[in-house]
């Protein structure tokens, strides 16, 4: 079972671009459901992103990269 994690919709403006501010994990690491794997920010609001399931994480974007809301940021296998 694999699950993709997308950048959360933090801004009322759907087109507003955000940033993946901090990765707390690296590709290949095991994560648990509920573990905070990243901090994202858009329009000055920041939020923790949690792993939805147990598994091995793959980080799909670079830290400090601009990311659109709804874009894929990680995959858990």
């Amino acid at each position: 079972m694999s699950q993709t994690i997308v950048f959360p919709a933090l801004s009322k403006d759907e087109s507003a671009e955000g940033v993946l501010a901090t990765w707390f994990v690296r590709t290949g690491e095991s994560v648990r459901a509920g573990q905070v794997i990243a901090e994202v920010m858009v329009d000055k609001v920041s939020m923790d992103v949690e792993a939805p399931i147990d598994g091995t994480v793959t980080c799909l974007v670079e830290e400090e990269a601009a990311v659109g809301q709804g874009a894929e940021i990680a995959r858990i296998d």
């Binding site: 501010a21 901090t22 707390f24 994990v25 905070v36 994202v40 920041s46």
Partner: protein
Amino acid sequence: MTATADVETGARRVTTAKAISEAIAQEMRSNPDVFVMGEDVGTYGGIFGSTGGLFEEFGSQRIIDTPISETGFIGAGIGAAVEGLRPVVELMFVDFFGVCFDQIYNHMAKIHYESGGNVKVPMVLMMAVGGGYSDGAQHSQCLWASFAHMPGMKVVAPSNPHDAKGLMISAIRDDNPVIFMFHKGVMGLPWMAKNPRSIGPVPEEEYTVPIGKAAIPHPGTDVTVVSISMSVQHCLDVAEKLEGTTSVEVIDLRSIVPLDRDAILQSVAKTGRLVIVDEDYKSFGLSGEIVATITDKDPSLLKVPVQRVCYPDVPIPYARVLEYEALPTRDKIEAAIAAAMAG
């Protein structure tokens, strides 16, 4: 990302800010006497994230937003502490200590002594320190030497998330007043440039880091580099860069009061060369005290003069080019190490 000990501990990685708020939360869960006071510590979670999530868990009775009345609420913290509570009080920026220093140095720090040991002040006074992001002369200082110079209060300044949590728990459990200084640059905030070392492995359970004990995150044999707080991150970057050419021993003091003089002496006895990296003002401060630690005991331990990489004796300028001329940056640290090696 940094090569820290996370592979060994297997612990999840968090920011220093999260580590601090987690420490406070865990102590608050186990001890109803612990509470927090300060400006914007409530729903805002602290201007630099030190109390993130606490208001949501503990509510307004234990996470208290105060008016802009530092003398008032720091004094109130002292009063609560002498009557048995364990307040964690936040002074938003260390630079604001001018408006409330009497409560700090004449009361919080002296009550235990003046009472002949009969009255305790089990209080933590935490504050944001440090510059490097153009906040100017009144919002960028470190000033740990100013607090360290007055007897009666412990002073700690972690450089990384692991130590931040452990030191905060130690500080809360300590029956003495503890000044807990977190450099804004090590907090791992999403809105400030950060060194990867500001994110690190932190065990989920409670643990302590002893106040008064330095750490040696990068052992070496050629030169001793003593530092504290954010500068430790720069020193480690330089030490790693120089591996293969110079064997640098980095000492992270973690505490200024008590100062781990033994750690400094042992290292300099081994290397004979001392570089001090301190973002606080150079003169009349911590760096001079570190030198005196050696020369008071045995000046012959030093094969070469001491190199001090400190903030110069000037107020902190706003313009980035001016501020970075003065800050103890990596290239200055590297140059100091080279100078120490050249003798």
